[in-house]
């Protein structure tokens, strides 16, 4: 991000005890929600399934590889694209991966609502400012 190139950045800041406690409290409240609980369980189930992990790793590796090649100006051939779409479909239809991703969407809705509370009071987008300068995910 352009702005962040101009000054010191990314330094871990020591926050006041009051802010530390308030942030911990919010984190604990979020952790105790059904959405986060269900997501963490679903993510754990994926981690414990070697086949699901291997499938996702393979898909992400291919995705990264294709993105790098496309950005370097190479034209991707039909077979590579077909493999990509086939793998993506396998990832989407894998029961454990699909269940985890479904739970993640609910977590995102919840986090987005809570983030909106922070943003409304601050008048600036909390998440955007917290992530400014980091690589987009």
């Amino acid at each position: 991000m352009r702005l962040r190139q101009l000054g010191m950045k990314g330094e871990k800041m020591i926050v006041s005890n009051e802010i530390q406690h308030a942030a911990q409290k919010l984190g604990q409240d979020l952790h105790n929600t059904p959405e986060v609980n269900a997501y963490l369980k679903a993510a754990q189930a994926v981690q414990e399934n070697a086949e699901a992990v291997a499938l996702e790793d393979k898909f992400l590796a291919l995705y990264q590889q294709l993105v790098v090649r496309e950005r370097s100006g190479q034209v991707l051939d039909q077979n590579e694209l077909a493999e990509y779409y086939q793998l993506r479909e396998q990832v989407r239809s894998h029961p454990l991966l699909a269940a985890r991703d479904e739970q993640l969407q609910l977590v995102k809705l919840l986090f987005s609502d809570v983030g909106q509370v922070l943003t409304t009071i601050l008048g600036v987008d909390f998440s955007a400012l917290a992530l400014l300068g980091e690589n987009p995910g």
């Binding site: 942030a23 400012l129 400014l132 300068g133």
Partner: protein
């Protein structure tokens, strides 16, 4: 498609749980608002918004970026950015923004470590682009 959302339904988390969470978020936001870093960011944002040189350069950049795409245009935009970044008012604003970012990043790390996954990344409405 229905706009109904489980998280907006008080009976899902339980009204008390949702209220508690909103109260926690409110409290944190109020504390962040009072910090020197955030107050400085607000002060410098107001100043930079009124700086005629900053306004002129930003308008020129937007006009160019909204026009056509090409190498010549990229060079012109780059030159304008360099001029913008050399302005003392803009530099002061960017430094304040960096400090506020560091503060917010630290707070996000605390929240995320309690939750078990990254709060800010998952609070924004944007995917990774891989379509998975």
């Amino acid at each position: 498609m229905s706009n109904f959302r489980l998280t907006s339904d008080p009976s899902f988390l339980g009204g008390d749980a949702m209220e508690k969470m909103n109260a926690s978020a409110n409290q944190l936001a109020k504390l962040l608002h009072q910090t020197a870093e955030f107050q400085e960011l607000l002060r410098l944002a107001r100043l930079v918004e009124q700086d005629p040189d900053v306004i002129r350069l930003i308008l020129q950049i937007r006009q160019l970026e909204g026009a056509y795409s090409g190498k010549e245009q990229d060079d012109s935009v780059q030159k304008l950015h360099t001029q913008l970044e050399a302005l003392p008012a803009y530099q002061a604003y960017v430094r304040a923004e960096n400090s506020a970012c560091d503060l917010f990043q630290s707070v996000n790390q605390i929240i995320s470590s309690e939750v078990g996954l990254d709060f800010a990344v998952n609070a924004r409405r944007k995917g990774c682009g891989c379509g998975s």
